[in-house]
Amino acid sequence: MTSQRNGGSAPEKTTLLGVVLMGVALLRPLYAFKENRVALGEPVTLFETGVPFGVIAVCVLVLLAGILAFAPQTTRVRWAKIAAGLLLFSSLLITLAVSGSAAVAGTEFARVTPSTGFWLGVLASFVLIQGSLHGADVRYSAKIAVGLIPFLVTFVPAIAGMLDSLAPMQEYYNRESRFVSELGTHLWLSAAAVLGATVIGVPLGVVAYRRKAAERPVFALINGIQTVPSLALFGLMIAPLAFLSREFPLLRAVGIRGIGNAPALIALTLYALLPIVRNAYTSLAVIQGSVVEAGKGMGMSRTQMLRYVEVPIAVPIILSGIRVSTVQAIGNTAVAPLIGAGWLGAFVFQGIGQGAPDLVVMGVLPIVLLSVFVDRGLAILISALSPTGLREAPT
């Protein structure tokens, strides 16, 4: 025991993983230099970037993390690892930006694409940060602050134009106005799907709970929907919707056709159902039984039961279902362009079609970030709305 505590035998495994990842990252190219959008890239490793500050910073930070992995994991050491992770991420990004700007200076179409070395390095940074935050006795607000720093470190230089040499940024500039409108559409259509699923799903969960005969068919149906691949579900809807649209001009007038937003919205709503129905069902199962019997036995009226027992217990559970659905919907929406709807996924498919991986990255990154932010935001909201005794730290 004592020998471990004094630093020696047992390294902290997550930190070690981060160090190993970063070690591999150093051997891989940091970025690829491209003459133009579709040209084959020329790999450049960190050591070839010609940014001595970056090389030294990264090497020192990796060494430091390696040493910290073998130290006793006190609060101070954990914070040191978190700082190392944040600095590592920043150093990689700055090195990339500085070297990239220098490389493309004076050219018209040249650009640099972040490569495996960069992405692995980012991963290593997050392993260091998350590994040290996880299970640490850190206040939630501090965790949020730490989580926001990488985004600040990325967005501020991006807005200031310091990352303009990067290929995804170039792709973004080419489509700036369309990007904003697609982002808006993506957001509100995801929201509409979740809203629709909530309106249908909560009563469905209630019915499934109240009527034993309905329970099996309801869950068989919505579980079944989940197992249909999204592409197939989109495809399945084309024929019936096209038929309806042709037969009923009124439907066509409000924009319902075999392809486009209508089938996408329906499919997304169907996918969003499962978590909502399941949690609505669970919330009722939780408030039935002893809690309700005790409440009734103590002389609560129907409205008092609702106010003191049912709503406070059920609402957080239902909201958690909505949270899962929302994150799912944001991801599922990415596939919607395949049946003619637009949205952020359109950039992904364009990128694939044009053989331009940078455009794919440009489409994927906002979807990922959107999911993460919405998930965190809802988690915090649910936690704030939950009664103290049922509150868990948002996860």
């Binding site: 039984g289 002893s290 809690v291 019997e293 005790a294 409440g295 009734k296 036995g297 103590m298 002389g299 609560m300 009226s301 008092q304 003191y308 027992v309 406070p312 217990i313 939950s386 009664p387 103290t388 005794g389 049922l390």
Partner: protein, 369 residues
């Protein structure tokens, strides 16, 4: 206080309660007991109108419960259930204060009452007031369930297997605590259990039920001595004589004991004064009158009374308290291989003794009667 008059409860074709009538007196602990499905819980729930009888009536203080508004009625009756049913989103103080809140007590009065109750059940209010149910052990949650039922000081307490979900060790502690509490509060308690030992420990009267009917009712000792039929005989078990001893307290069956100081033991052994073996054991005490050992008569010695050599004893191992049951006393007697067990005070002083011969006689008398 509570009276069942020809009560029948039917579910569709099934009869859960088949015409029962009995009375529960004020400040009495009445235990309803029987195998599962016998109708004991159903009977309990008829009292606070969680269920309504198909025919007949349950009277509370002479008025049918059906004439009360159910919510008002329930607020005036404490209710404890096996699963406790603490509301998970409320802390201990809020849980205990639910009924006062429903009765629209002022906050300050509610808070005062909550602290009072936590004290009463032996939980430090400062420590427990703000805890949430998820942070409580099973025993603590159960105690708070009892406190919650007592919050508005109702005269009647309904308890549906309240200690059934607690481990045996804690269950016994809770039972003893409840017995002490009841001696202080003197509530009218209707208590449902399937644990016979629990019934014997707590009941003033026991009502044994089977298939929705009452098969026997009476004081625990009487039922154990004279089971009404084969079902009851089986239900109380072949060891009913032993169980019956649990109904009696040592203090009621104590005899005077003979004690001698430690320094006189040698003299006594050399010169037995020939008291004819009236006392089965001589208890030896130290200067503080605390039990330290004993002298036992030697039955093989024919001249007058002779004693075996002095034996050192630990008061905790051989002695019983006045509040202990005769069953416990018997187990001490048998455990030590003696003819009697000393009754000792908290300080270890010998107050008297319980003799094996008295226990045997009590047993004979009970069964013969």
């Amino acid at each position: 206080m509570i009276e069942f008059q020809d009560v029948v409860k039917q579910y569709n074709t099934q009869t859960a309660i088949d015409d029962i009538s009995f009375t529960i007196g004020e400040a009495e602990v009445c235990v309803l007991i029987g195998p599962s499905g016998c109708g004991k819980t159903t009977s309990l729930k008829l009292i606070n109108r969680m269920l309504e009888p198909s025919s007949g009536a349950v009277l509370l203080n002479g008025k049918p419960v059906g004439s009360f508004n159910p919510e008002q009625l329930r607020r005036g009756i404490g209710y404890v259930i096996q699963s406790v049913g603490l509301l998970p989103h409320m802390n201990v103080a809020e849980n205990v204060g639910i009924v006062p809140r429903l009765l629209k007590w002022e906050r300050s009065r509610r808070e005062k009452r909550t602290d009072e109750l936590l004290d009463l059940i032996g939980l430090d209010p400062g420590l427990y007031r703000g805890k949430y149910p998820a942070q409580l052990s099973g025993g603590e949650a159960q105690r708070i369930g009892v406190a919650r039922a007592l919050a508005a000081d109702p005269p009647v307490l309904l308890m549906d297997e309240p200690f059934g979900a607690v481990d045996p060790l804690n269950r016994e502690i809770l039972q003893l605590e409840f017995a002490v509490l009841q001696r202080k509060l003197r509530k009218t308690v209707v208590f449902v259990t399937h644990d016979l030992d629990e019934a014997i420990r707590l009941a003033d009267t026991v009502v044994i039920m089977k298939d929705g009917r009452i098969v026997q009712q009476g004081q625990p000792a009487d039922i154990l001595a004279h089971p009404a039929d084969n079902f009851v005989r089986q239900f109380v078990g072949a060891d009913r004589a032993l169980k019956r001893l649990a109904c009696f307290q040592v203090v009621d069956h104590m005899q005077s004991a003979e004690t001698i100081p430690r320094e006189q033991t040698a003299k006594r052994q050399q010169a037995p004064n020939g008291d004819g073996g009236q006392h089965p054991v001589l208890w030896v005490t130290n200067a503080d009158h605390a039990l330290v050992g004993m002298l036992e008569p030697d039955p093989d010695h024919h001249s007058a009374v002779a004693y075996r050599p002095y034996v050192e004893l630990h008061a905790d191992e051989v002695g019983v308290r006045p509040v202990a049951s005769l069953r416990e006393a018997l187990s001490r007697i048998l455990g030590q291989g003696l003819r009697a067990a000393p009754v000792i005070s908290e300080e270890g002083m010998v107050l008297g003794e319980v003799r094996l011969s008295d226990i045997e006689e009590l047993n004979q008398r009970g069964i013969a009667r």
